[in-house]
Amino acid sequence: MKKDLRFYLRLFASTFTLSAFTFGGGYVMIPLMQRKFVDKFHWLEKEEMLDIAAIAQSSPGAIAVNAAILIGYRVAGLPGALISIIGTVLPPLLLLSVISYFYIAFKNSGAVRAVLWGMQVAVGAVIADIVLSMGMEVVKKKQWLPITVMLLSFAAVCVFGVNVMLIILICGAIGALTTLYSQRKGGKQA
């Protein structure tokens, strides 16, 4: 990967547009990032994207910002991290600066609501699309443990409202223990 000016511009433009379209919280950013950085640019591998999501979730601060820092650092070190932070922070900074001056009109405009409503539904579809692909990836490996972890975590968050940090801790521990166990047996890695 050549790190010329065009590369940095591309990184900036990508993080900027991704941030400008991240409606509804940081997790929305992960599928969009996957489409861009994994499927289109091939800068990252699929599994790296999930690792980045896990680290972004477990660190303090906004998930979208954390994920951008991790990707920037991964593809271009410290300058990359800096560029993707600026790219991610700039859209909400600009947008909210403008909105703060006439926010009552903005809040009550039916046209604005209609546009945002349509985009919100589309975000739901984007997530559904990527979750289907990611889920198939897990199922295709035909190992019972990851499939069980996936289904149980989903039920825990969605049905029982379990704290996300707790799920991260437990799943990380499960992963560590299965590796240690299979190493002790002298077998292959889990």
């Binding site: 972004a56 979730q57 703060s100 969605c158 799920i167």
Partner: protein, 201 residues
């Protein structure tokens, strides 16, 4: 000068202690900007949360910008936003460094491997709550069939179909398209005197 230092310090605390992202940080922001420093009252705070739901970007950054401008103009917004991202920059960069260096150690591999299916589940549950917000926005009453937003279901199915068929298409165009179609629909219905159905209040 004092006000900028206060903004910086306050939003650094918000950045450092908001784990879990999204609306998990709302109570923390409220305790800082409403209760402690009185930079805005509760009505304004609820407004800014509503606007954050309607606009892209992390809630904490949105609040930082909004509060910063109110209190100290554009420099205030910059200082508050900087304070908000600084703690995560330092912590996440450290973690990124460790990840690059040790990601091939078997135990780390095991931990990350254990987390991957869970992250897929977390993304799925974020999708479910967004979908619920558009398809069935009223959760405060008992379930009623007429509270289902059928238009949202039609939109969702169409978008999903397009995304599955056109793998190369940038999803942002699907989002812009959905926003545009929705706007046109709204304008047509408005001209005809019919209210746009179920825009989540």
């Amino acid at each position: 000068m004092m006000i900028y230092l206060e903004l910086l310090w306050s939003f650094m605390k918000i950045g450092l202690f908001s784990f879990g992202g999204g609306y998990a940080s709302v109570p923390l922001i409220q305790s800082q900007v409403v209760d402690l420093y009185h930079w805005m009252d509760m009505t304004e705070f609820v407004d800014i949360i509503t606007i954050s739901q309607m606009t892209p970007g992390p809630v904490a950054i949105n609040c930082a910008t909004f509060v910063g401008i109110r209190v100290g103009g554009i420099p205030g917004a910059l200082v508050a936003t900087f304070g908000c991202v600084l703690p995560s920059c330092i912590i996440v960069l450290t973690l990124a460094f460790i990840y690059q260096k040790y990601r091939n150690v078997p135990v780390i591999q095991g931990i990350l491997g254990g987390l991957r299916p869970a992250i897929v589940a977390l993304i799925a549950s974020a999708g479910v709550s967004i979908l619920q917000l558009s398809i069935y926005p009223r959760t405060d009453e008992a379930f009623r069939l007429q509270n289902i937003d059928w238009l949202a279901i039609v939109f969702f199915v169409l978008c999903f179909f397009i995304l599955r068929k056109a793998k190369k298409l940038n999803p942002i165009f699907v989002m812009l398209g959905a926003g545009g179609v929705s706007l046109v629909l709204y304008l047509i219905l408005k001209a005809a005197g019919i209210p746009f159905p179920f825009i989540s209040a």
